[in-house]
Symmetry: D2
Subunit: 343 residues, 4 copies
């Protein structure tokens, strides 16, 4: 059994990681840390874990972390970048679910996050953990930066078009909707049921922190700098992201459905739907799959891609487990084959 | 008191119309028809009306309709186009909330609705009931075609940009989300709480019936034919539409905020938000207002407009009452000054 | 115009009070206070008020309060009891929506609220503001203690049975469900959409602060001390309370439907439903009405009453306006005749 | 591998059964029937099954059913009672999730279901499939009648008290709330999101079909006839049942917490919470567990039990799999150890 630890498992990505790892046949969760919940049983904070674990939150400075084979950071940004160097020095592999190592350029990181990066030298070494792009590099990585939720959906949606050179590089638009869990497990008024239900609104239109990460990824796929107009919205539901993407076809004759079918034919967690069907956040809930659909309305110039993921699974913790499986040489789907619930 | 009738008030636009008209100080609802509910008290079907009316549904062939000054159609498409001619002949003014008279070209209507138009000669005479565009024509109209919900939000959002010639005519994109009431009060599986909650998905991507209506309206605003990529989505909530619109600025120097502020300065039901604030379907719930915001992210070429309305109020029955007020020479806001509920 | 002020209008009862009072034809809202929002426009905090008021939050120590005819407290408990004496001394009438003056016995208040009462001498003078019980006393009151939300539903439901002596005084049970707005507009984790949706649970089973208030009221109705088993639940919705009440009939022959019909025949805001129909929180949403149904299942000994109210309207701010109308000698329904929204 | 079939898997209990059985390590789903969906792939009807099965719905008259070791009925009532005899004759064991064999007395069944029972002779032979009551009988059964959802929660909640003789047999009350999936996957207006959200209401107060089943079960536990006042409610959520139960203690000195802890100490799927904690439908969502809490408010005579289950899992399909495991001599938790999702 591979020994794993989780730093900061008091939020939604943390408990999602626990849901997956506690039932994973090849790993053993050895240590789970939290500064605020230190000493408390995990199942006291998360009653859904009753009967599934006897673990107790420990202090983040616990030496047990150094005895792990692999450690996950399920923390807000600004935590991993301070602690990762010590873990790597001790030979512990790291998967960081936060934003700390997603941007290659620590200067750009500083601009968007408003503070200097604490371990800028590692940024270029971290492997961006999107398996559909970086599978081989992930296998050998000691530090994986798990993609953000929006970036996962947007990149998977645009990838076949950009790789095939089928669309103009501008304008590109992404109109995305996320469930409220994307705002985290914190007592904030806009996330109250009384504020977020019966509400649909855009936010971060002027600039969202996922924008530079997406543009970096799309640029790599396109082989040239890319500008994206990215409008996230908050939808009145718990989980899920739907990304609706717009691009201009270079030639109307391209068969987009065939392009997508072929591109993702071998991917275990990307499901291209038959023509005419649409992805739904409900269909991928609590599941590591990304559902995709591609349409060229009225046979005009604009191609529309829709991509659905669960923001906490393929958009965070499921993708982290997928990366872990690759790093450990396990079958990529191990522990991730759960069926979504209906209804 | 002006005598009004409502044909087909068993759906959500019907009961919304009743909510507004039963408290309107200048009109008296004389007759409400329904083929299926004929003979039943309105408040037996809609318990929210208990204590507010003693009315009973009557047969749609009721002669009382001809004694009304003004009749509303709150029916599915394909009903009004058969009955309107007789009412007009009898001197009754008509506001049709259905799609029957929204397209000037009956041939185009036939293509999208899959059947011949029953009164094609009236199509060109009907006044498109968007007060912000057609106020003067509505005042004198005998037949008003009330705009669809998506078309209202999309046209109000693009209008200042198109009128000012500030954006290219292509590409134009509209990514819109609607609450489930847009699907009507019918027992359909996709509208069940168990199917629609925790769900966000696109639909009608290949072609939605509101598309030709929107393109007709945008073309009139632009003074040239316009193509729109229109992607509606279903959001897990009761009411509300948010339209997120994308266009390419001809010149980056235009001050879009000032443009919008000036354009809608006098409009009673269009509320341009201060820079940096975003509309929310919750803020206009059960209210006839359209909230608008305009942003040019990163100061690039793409302008983003967001528009929120209540699909049943400004997107249907509220707009119909607004049109009625104009037709009757009443203050335009009469009976429409209710405050939205929080939460 | 009667001059009114509101102390502490930053919560849900505050904004509900504003929704009703800003459109009330006989009052003028002069001053609205908030320590935390002092200086901010009301419509900046509550965008639903845009276009309906120019008011700005002022400091709670504002002398303008003393110039009002009537002041509402929409504060948490422990605020009114410190400020009310000064207002009464200045001749200002007060309606307190908080719990401070609901219990006649300040000792009992101290036990449940964990601190001494700051103006115990006023407790016995405050009029309990349930119009269906205390209409005459309210008319002449200088200080009205507006009932809690659960107490309103439970007392209105049991009242006809207790007044008629039709049921045993024990056991009495109340199983109640409330929407999340009952927990207030505060950033608490259990009230997040991500925690409260898809969740139904009991709370306060060992003892809820509304229990002594309900028992005091039921005891007055019964003319003898009463013990109630009261189990509140949190339901995944914004607004509304449903109280399901159980009591043992003394004689099975009593016609409960006739008893309820007669008892509430003249009440403008109590709606006894026809036999076989059930109240629904949706039917009274944003409305001051209480819907009631009474059933004797299988013709056995147990009578079941169900009572639906909107916790923020008849359960708080609507009831406060109803009391105000009575105090001012206005028609009791003035400003409260809005139709609930469907859907 | 044990060969199993499912009759009528187009509803929510059917797809829940598929979710569990398709991943069960010891069984193979051989045949799934549906008269209406005959010939269609399962994953076309339920997109959550994409990638998990290649199965196609077959006709209910398929001979493949007779080749199964065990067949589940996930049909409405009135179907199993016609087909079960033939299956039993062929040596196929049956688990019926419908109501057809839950009542021992076919006359009583007829009264509540309004038609004669088609195989009355089997009623007394069917084993009532509540493992916590009937484990040994289930092991050897050829026909198991899976309990209803409300009956499961109510019986598990009252059982320790009745078995210990700790409460009076009257009055007993059960105030229960269920998610909308309890109404099935059918296009009915009251189950629309637009009707059921923001709504909480009682139904079936005069008599619900689960009443005789519950009274039969409670009577067996008590060793004497029992009358229950049972009030079900519809809550605005997908899944889950919370039962709030009231009974009168014979003696106030009994330690109810200790009684419950001891009674369910060995049960794999009954989780008695620590004193002061309350079950939540969210904590058992998609999980086969029943969470229980017992309280004696104010130390008075009335004991309150709250019981939470997922109506589709422990209240239907999970319980059916639990019974199957027992029938097959497998570990009782096999295939049922999934962790509930947060949020």
């Amino acid at each position: 059994m591979v020994k794993v630890g989780i730093i900061g498992a008091t939020g939604y990505t943390g408990v999602e990681l626990l849901r997956l790892l506690l039932k994973h046949p090849d790993v053993s969760v050895q240590v789970v840390t939290s500064r605020t919940e230190n000493g408390r049983r995990l199942d006291a904070l998360f009653p859904t874990l009753r009967g599934h674990t006897e673990l107790v939150f420990t202090d983040p400075d616990s030496p047990d972390l150094l005895a792990c084979d692999l450690v996950f950071f399920a923390t807000p940004h600004n935590v991993a970048m301070r602690s990762v160097p010590q873990l790597l020095d001790a030979g512990v592999r790291v998967i960081d679910l936060s934003a700390d190592y997603r941007l290659l350029d620590p200067e750009l990181w500083s601009q968007w996050y408003g503070e200097p990066h604490a371990s800028p030298g590692l940024c270029a070494n971290a492997v961006y953990g999107l398996p559909e792009v970086n599978r081989a590099a992930i296998a050998g990585a000691s530090l994986v930066a798990c993609p953000g939720c929006y970036p996962t959906a947007v990149q998977l949606g645009f990838m076949p078009l950009l790789k095939a050179g089928a669309v103009e590089l501008q304008p590109l638009m992404a109109s995305c909707a996320s469930g409220v869990s994307g705002a985290g497990r914190q007592g904030k008024i806009p996330s109250l049921l009384t504020e977020a239900s019966e509400s649909f609104r855009a936010y971060g239109v002027g600039g969202h922190r996922h924008l530079p990460e997406i543009e970096q990824g799309l640029g790599q796929l396109a082989g040239a700098p890319v500008q994206l107009t990215f409008v996230p919205h908050l939808a009145p539901m718990n989980r899920g992201i739907l990304a609706t993407l717009f691009a201009q076809l270079k030639e109307q004759t391209v068969d987009c459905q065939a392009l997508f079918d072929a591109y993702y034919d071998e991917e275990p967690f990307v499901d291209v739907l038959p023509a005419g069907e649409q992805p739904d956040t409900r269909y991928v809930r609590c599941n590591n799959r990304c559902q995709l659909s591609v349409t060229v309305p009225q046979g005009r110039n604009t191609v529309v891609v829709t991509a659905a993921i669960d923001n906490l699974t393929k958009g965070a913790s499921g993708q982290a487990v997928q990366a872990m499986n690759i790093m450990l040489g396990l079958p990529e789907s191990r522990g991730l084959e759960l069926i979504s619930v209906t209804p």
